[in-house]
């Protein structure tokens, strides 16, 4: 247990930094999903399974999907593409 927590904190910091450093929005969405997954494991390791379930469902499934769809919609309506 004592080794797992620092490792998970490190992973959280790394994946969080990666979200900022990745500049392509589409890839960023997937990095956010990975960050959500890391947070899920962290919450589980901290014995908060309820929060972990919420984070898993919202943070690594629902939110990335909404971002992806929004990106798609925005790109479709770029000025100059149509009318």
């Amino acid at each position: 247990m004592s080794a797992i927590l620092p490792l998970l904190f490190l992973l959280t910091a790394l994946s969080g930094t990666a979200v900022v450093l990745v500049r392509d929005p589409t890839r960023q969405v997937f990095v956010i999903a990975v960050n959500g997954l890391v947070l899920t494991i962290l919450f589980d390791a901290l014995q908060a399974p309820d929060v972990a379930l919420s984070e898993l469902a919202v943070g690594s499934a629902a939110v990335p999907l909404l971002y992806l769809v929004a990106l798609m919609a925005v790109r479709n309506q770029l000025p100059g593409k149509e009318s």
Partner: protein, 258 residues
Amino acid sequence: MTPRIRVALLALAGVVLLPGAAAVITGLPPFGATIAQYGERINAITPEARHVANMVSAINFDLRGLDTLGEEFMLLAAITGTVVLLRGRRGEGNTERALRRPGRAVIPRSEAVVLVCRIAGPLTALFGLYVVVHATVTPGGGFQGGVILASGTLIIYLGEGYAGWRDAVRSHWLDGLEGGGALLFTLCGLAPMLTGAAFMQNIMPLGTFRDLMSGGLMLVENLGVALAVAGGFTQLFLEFMEETREADELDEPGEESA
């Protein structure tokens, strides 16, 4: 408001609030050291008083019931706002076709993906139901189960494509689910008042500890939350997906309200 005044206001707020924040932060219990007093009290009381093994559910649906009502309606309001915003721009019309980006190859879905999704979709929905009904026994509950149910419908999209998904998911049913779930939750609060009890007081038989049917009224409230969350999130997915539809009659209404 000039930038200078803003900075001054920020500095003023910092001077006022930072000492308080510092005091709170230094007063926090050390990381991972202790269970807070409130938590210990809950752990000691709830199994006997409410026959419930999942303390988070006990807090959410019983001990602080009214707060959860606010939380529930916060989600409802947020989703309603999103739907109003998107439909206000786009109208209520639906389409069967998803958008095709010009110049992007359309790769047909492989049969393996369809098969896996047809197996995983019902399993995910089943797991969502399991999480919902076992709210008082194991971690999870109406919200988590509802989101899992909603993501189960996404697997349909993954496996069957946009048209199949639109066939399976009807917008009006989702409206009904969302509103009906919130109504059920509110009724769970009001019904005890008919018997002379307090708002959202747990008047149903509590059942046996660690049994599926434990917790009394919590189970029904939980079901309401699950319906509202599953309907709401699927509605949200649907509305966002509709934004990517083939732009066939996206003309005047979009311009005037945008």
